[in-house]
């Protein structure tokens, strides 16, 4: 069953074409990995998918999009702003609601941020900030995850832990990566992009690391 159908003409910024015409079906329950060099158009494709399907997707953008002068808790809570009334949101900004903190805290514990709940994001390291963005996406609890290099600032074991956490919590996901081994480990379907074209679209079972390395 196709969950998201992406049909688009060429994508780009202004006059600059980044990605050629794309036609892509994303099936429910599928973990899809986008591979390619930096600047090949992965992020452009991901942002396009997001702008067409906002209501079903949780997004981890490349720049993370955290509000650095707010606490970790408030940044994670932002994943559920639309679920609550504006009044509740304002109240929770001034005085965090106990029930919401109790919901966010276990998530932070699983991401190794247990003691950072009320730290300001500005005071965290790059890797910690990335995990806050991951927590925000998990907290949003949307059916589809769109993640742009979600583990780029994390070391090996930490990155694997976060990847499997994302895999368990989202039945459907589109994730861009640049690590071929990790792509094979976590993806069921792999798409490679080269010079603005989709050049490969295969189940990961049929691929090997050496075959994929030629796209780098």
């Amino acid at each position: 069953m196709s969950l998201l159908a992406i049909q688009s003409d060429a994508l780009g910024y202004g006059d600059q074409r980044v990605l050629g015409p794309v036609s892509l079906d994303i099936r429910a329950g599928e973990h899809l990995i986008l591979l390619g060099k930096s600047g090949c158009g992965k992020s452009t494709l991901l942002n396009h998918i997001y702008s067409e399907n906002r209501s079903e997707c949780a997004l981890i953008p490349q720049g993370l999009g955290l509000v650095e002068c707010l606490s970790v808790f408030h940044n994670v809570y932002m994943g559920r702003l639309p679920r609550y009334t504006v009044l509740h949101n304002i109240r929770n900004l001034i005085r965090p609601a106990q029930a919401r903190v109790a919901e966010v805290q276990p998530l932070l514990e699983r991401l190794g941020l247990a003691d950072k709940c009320f730290s300001l994001v500005a005071d965290l390291s790059g890797g910690q900030q990335q995990r806050v963005a991951v927590a925000r996406a998990l907290f949003q609890d949307a059916p589809v995850l769109l993640a742009d290099e979600p583990v780029s600032a994390l070391d090996g074991p930490e990155a694997d832990r976060v990847m499997s956490l994302l895999g368990q919590n989202f039945s459907t996901a589109v994730i861009t990566l640049h690590d071929v081994d990790r792509a094979l480990r976590y993806g069921q379907r792999i798409i490679a992009i080269q010079n603005g074209e989709l050049v490969l679209d295969q189940p990961s079972g049929r691929l090997t690391a050496s075959a994929l390395n030629e796209f780098y």
Partner: protein
């Protein structure tokens, strides 16, 4: 079954900047019961109605007179600011010197209207009074801001110069070119302030816009007031059109010819002012003693300075917080994530008008409508400064890049993205503005609110310049203290 007892939930503490804001709010709330905020005029609505009628039917008085007033306003502004730029620049170069710093702090902490009142006593209604009233305080302001700009410039190029390059060459080749754009943009902003100051100087008798505004207003010719104000807004709004690189020398060279001739200076008055008038009265008599001087100071402090300082503090702390609230309310009006290009237009127009209207003028108008209390002063200060800080914060907030999945509801977006991201800049604008608000509050006393300016004005009317000068110095000390405090809070919020 999971038998591990969950850890207690952590406790949330507001970040430093928020705590600073809440402290200011609490202080203002504490001040509230002591402040006189009544509406004392009998029928404010009738007068407001008449004024609105004037606004919708603006009228120009004698065009020749109006043009003369506008030109005089510009002339005092340009000449005063130009003189201040030259002196301020030179002083900025020696700003490491403690005495220079102290002198600059003192002269900029005295409001231009106080300077005008001082110069009026010995130069009389001569153009020099208006010129110096602007040039002296602005010189202190320029010296400090220019020095700050020079401090922020890269020092690498200067260090890389060969030994013996000389102070002036080093300045011209390294520091000045780097600082230039910032110097120009700050000076241009200050010129706008100078035009406002110049207009206000009319209230003490110089032939600028304020003079005609006051006379039309006091006679109830609201249509004329509206006409003059509209001209004034147009003048400021079109600044970019008439102020060009090639028109600037024209304005500077022309300005001495449009200040009016005023009255000739009586040099005997100048001598008497320094040798007698400002000498504390107990020292002027033959049996002068330290004791009589101490008594004199004590009486003035108890009867005039303390009530004046207390009222100035009350009013300025309340006005500061209302200013902050207004600014936070106003800035989304011009934010691109809150309104479209067309939707932002009314906000822009409102903010331009509100920040171009000098608080002194606003307070003057509101006092006529609401009667003498602190209420009109608070509203006037908050509208002008709130619009200014709202504009600066709004401009700042437009540089924010929101992520694609930013909150969709406008209120959520304001409270969770725009407000927290803009708050640090907002707070630093507010801390900068604190001293300005305090200075303006003091001066509003001239309009009859019992801040320190009220006692200064009374002393001058009783021809007791010694008392007036002492009170002005006390007001200056207050501003310097607030300025120091604001910078401390800025560094350690």
């Amino acid at each position: 079954m999971n038998s591990i007892k969950p850890l207690p939930l952590p406790r949330y503490r507001w970040p430093g900047g928020v705590r600073t804001g809440v402290w200011f709010l609490l202080v203002a709330l504490f001040c509230l019961p002591f402040a006189d905020l009544d509406v004392s005029s009998l029928d404010p609505w009738r007068e407001i109605g008449r004024m609105l009628q004037g606004v919708i039917s603006p009228q120009l008085m004698d065009p020749a007179l109006v043009i003369e007033a506008l030109l005089a306003t510009l002339a005092f502004a340009f000449a005063g600011v130009a003189l201040a730029v030259i002196c301020g620049f030179l002083l900025a170069l020696m700003f490491q010197n403690l005495i220079v710093r102290a002198v600059c702090a003192l002269i900029r902490s005295i409001h231009e209207l106080f300077w005008a009142l001082i110069f009026l006593q010995f130069f009389g209604l001569h153009p020099l009074t208006g010129l110096l009233a602007i040039a002296v305080p602005y010189c202190g302001i320029f010296a400090r801001m220019y020095a700050e700009i020079f401090d922020q410039v890269e020092t690498q190029p200067e260090k890389a110069l060969p030994v013996g390059s000389g102070f002036l060459s080093a300045l011209l080749y390294t520091r000045l070119p780097q600082a230039w754009p910032h110097l120009v943009s700050y000076t241009s902003y200050r010129l706008e302030c100078g035009i406002r100051s110049s207009a206000i100087l009319g209230f003490v008798g110089l032939p600028t816009l304020g003079y005609y505004l006051e006379s039309s207003f006091s006679q109830g010719y609201y249509s004329e007031v509206a006409g003059l104000m509209i001209l004034f807004y147009l003048l400021i709004a079109t600044k970019k059109l008439w102020l060009r690189r090639w028109t600037l020398p024209l304005f500077l060279l022309g300005s001495p010819f449009f200040m009016g001739s005023g009255m000739p200076i009586i040099w005997g008055n100048v001598g008497r002012f320094f040798s007698q008038d400002i000498i504390p009265s107990p020292l002027r008599s033959d049996d002068a003693s330290l004791r009589s001087l101490a008594d004199w100071v004590g009486t003035i402090v108890m009867d005039q300075a303390l009530p004046g300082v207390w009222n100035t503090l009350l009013l300025s702390q309340i006005a500061l917080v209302v200013t902050g609230l207004f600014a936070l309310l106003f800035f989304p009006l011009i934010n691109r994530y809150c309104f479209g290009t067309v939707g932002r237009l009314p906000g822009h127009i409102f903010l331009v008008i509100a920040r171009s209207t000098p608080e002194y003028l606003l307070a003057y108008i509101l006092l006529q409508l609401l009667g003498p209390s602190m209420l009109p002063a608070v509203i006037a200060l908050a509208i002008h400064n709130g619009a200014l800080i709202g504009y600066l914060t709004g401009r700042n907030s437009n540089e924010i890049q929101l992520r694609p999945d930013a909150p969709e509801r406008r209120t959520d977006r304001y409270f969770y993205e725009l407000l927290p991201r803009s708050y640090p800049a907002f707070l630093s604008f507010m801390l900068y503005r604190w001293e300005v608000i305090m200075r303006e509050t003091a001066i509003l006393g001239i309009l009859g609110i019992q801040t320190i300016g009220f006692f200064v004005d009374s002393a001058i009317q009783e021809i007791r310049f010694d008392v007036a000068l002492l009170l002005i110095l006390i007001a200056a000390m207050m501003n310097i203290l607030v300025d120091l405090l604001a910078r401390r809070i800025q560094l350690h919020p």
